[in-house]
Amino acid sequence: MTRSAPITAPAPADSPPGRPAESRSRRRSRRVTAHPVAGALFVLPFFLVVVAFLIVPLGYAFWLSLSSKSLATGVKFSGLDNYVRAFTDPLLLDGLLRVVLFGLVQIPIMLGIALAGALVLDAVTTKFALAFRLIAFMPYAVPAVVGALMWGFLYSRTFGPFADLPTLVGGEPIDFFSVSLLLLSLGNIVTWAWTGYNMIILYSALQGVPREMYEAAVIDGATPVQIALRVKVPAIKQAISLAAIFTVIGTMQFFTEPAIMARFAPQISAGYTPNLYAYNQAFAYSDFHYSAAVSFALGFLVFVVAYLFVFVNRRRGARA
């Protein structure tokens, strides 16, 4: 999985809590104005990078995806043929279904553990809890490649301690790379890598919940578990759903872990995940036109799902 940013906004470190209303009104009647193009100039360099590495590549990929190349006819315009092919390609759909199933199981488990951990950290402030917080976060700093390699070694019969455990009591050794266990093995790698990260995000959100919100409940004799479930969790619903969105975006791009695990588990096919499929179409089969279509379609799908999620979430938030 690839994720490039923390998902909470930083809190001002030393700004006064609550700006006085007076300064707000003064802001509207300010006498000095900035140079009219100064703001645009601050944004310009960023904008240029957006154009060069987001808009142009997507545009070019879309244009490429509208044509096809064959030995007989060379490159020729083919309209939406590549997309029709993509959405009827059993290999691609298979990979897509696999990733969706994977996400449906792995995401709730991971976020559930992360939330439980965050609630514990919010309530327990011992040295031990501090150590737990630090250690749980450490896998985030480990490259996904190295994480997948480490778990691959740990799973394997020759290097790892776990596969042969059942033989101690006369059982069969576990094959973590078998078809039936492979998704679980991958799920464990992802859970290991990202639970701590999400836990820190949720913990940070919990720290921002004002104490007054549950002081009354404490006085009324509510137990810590009741406070956690009835006050704290609803208070950070927004942060939880954001963590969920970013996890969904990451899961749909699933690539590194299966690509590395394929070295241990040859049954990981070229189309095991949609992203792996797009990569192999380009570099194993040199079909850049089809690869561009798969890439574009996948990106679009993820974008739409994420946007819908935000939209529905906002509507729900507005109604509440």
């Binding site: 994720r3 940013a5 923390p6 998902i7 909470t8 906004a9 930083p10 809190a11 802001r27 900035a34 009219p36 703001g39 601050f42 944004v43 360099p45 960023f46 904008f47 957006v50 060069a52 590495f53 142009v56 590549p57 990929a61 514990v120 011992t126 150590a131 737990f132 250690i135 749980a136 976060f137 450490m138 896998p139 985030y140 700093a141 490259p143 996904a144 490649v145 390699l149 480490m150 778990w151 070694f153 740990l154 020759t158 290097f159 290991w192 701590g196 995000i201 940070s204 959100a205 810590p224 954001l242 690539f255 590395i260 070295r263 797009a278 561009a292 890439s295 996948l298 990106g299 935000v310």
Partner: protein, 279 residues
């Protein structure tokens, strides 16, 4: 009270074990020779071979591991610096100025955050191939400069913690816009800047898909791609060459700098990443 916290502590203990075991394994395994790696108990030490492994690691294939390490540091350092600078300027510009198209750009920015990064990799490869930039360090660094989330984060932060009055006061004193940004705004948003820097640093350091697609010259590889090529060779040659121990030792050395950086800089990035989720 003691009894009430026993269960949470037990659960945290299980968690610590879970998160730590793979890391412990890699530390222990890095001290073993290849035969010991295959034969000795996985989670306990055998003959101590760490320094021999490290020596061999930096000699193998003409010292290419050292190059990978330097490449990784160079790519992630430059990318993170550049991405942070762009995000800081853009975030400030959006938070504190009015200009044509600002509203539209801000809406688009939220959309950009949702664009999956890997969906851009193949398209970017195709573009960079057109301008003959693939298989150069720029093919990894330039696309990594894009950090819509960084810009958004800075924008939110400036909005909350850099008072308009302060900027106006500086303008009355006839300070130039660049000087205001550099001398007043940047110091005030340091937690946001450190956060964006660290997280883009990790993203580039750990990136696999982008360099895998962009680079074919082994001299240009970062650690992630380099280690996997060694691992592939080790698998294919089924242990006739001493490579598994190098993959393990190389993995350990690839992790250490970032884990140390995160633990040491905890105070900074935690204050940057705390509270107030996206609104």
């Amino acid at each position: 009270m003691k009894v009430k916290t026993r269960l949470p502590h037990l659960l945290m203990g299980v968690g610590i074990l879970y998160f730590l075991v793979p890391l412990l394994w890699v530390v222990i395994a890095a001290t073993k020779s290849q035969p010991d790696l295959l034969d000795s108990p996985a989670l306990w030490f055998a003959e101590f071979n760490l320094f021999e492994n490290i020596g061999q690691l930096f000699r193998e294939d003409g010292g290419v591991y050292g190059k990978w390490l330097l490449n990784t540091a160079l790519y992630s350092g430059l990318s993170a610096l550049g991405a942070t600078a762009l995000a800081a300027a853009a975030g400030y510009g959006l938070a504190r100025f009015q200009f044509l198209g600002k509203r539209l750009f801000e809406t688009a920015l939220l959309g950009m955050i949702m664009v999956p990064a890997t969906a851009l990799v193949l398209p970017t490869y195709l573009i960079l191939a057109e301008v003959e930039l693939v298989d150069t360090m720029w093919a990894v660094i330039l696309p990594s400069l894009l950090s819509p989330f960084g810009a958004y984060l800075v924008r939110v932060y400036v909005d909350e913690s850099v008072p308009v009055e302060l900027i106006d006061a500086a303008r009355i004193d006839r300070a130039g816009e660049l000087r205001i940004f550099w001398q007043i705004v940047v110091p005030m948003m340091r937690p946001a800047i450190v956060t964006v820097f660290l997280f883009t640093l990790v993203a580039t350091w750990n990136n696999y898909f982008l360099p895998l697609v962009m680079l074919s010259d082994a001299e240009l590889y970062p650690l992630t791609v380099g280690l996997t090529t060694w691992f592939n060779t080790a698998q294919q040659e089924a242990g006739t060459r001493m490579l598994f121990n190098l993959v393990v030792t190389g993995s350990l050395l690839a992790i250490v700098p970032l884990v140390v950086a995160f633990v040491l800089l905890q105070r900074f990035w935690r204050s940057g990443a705390s509270a107030g989720a996206l609104k």
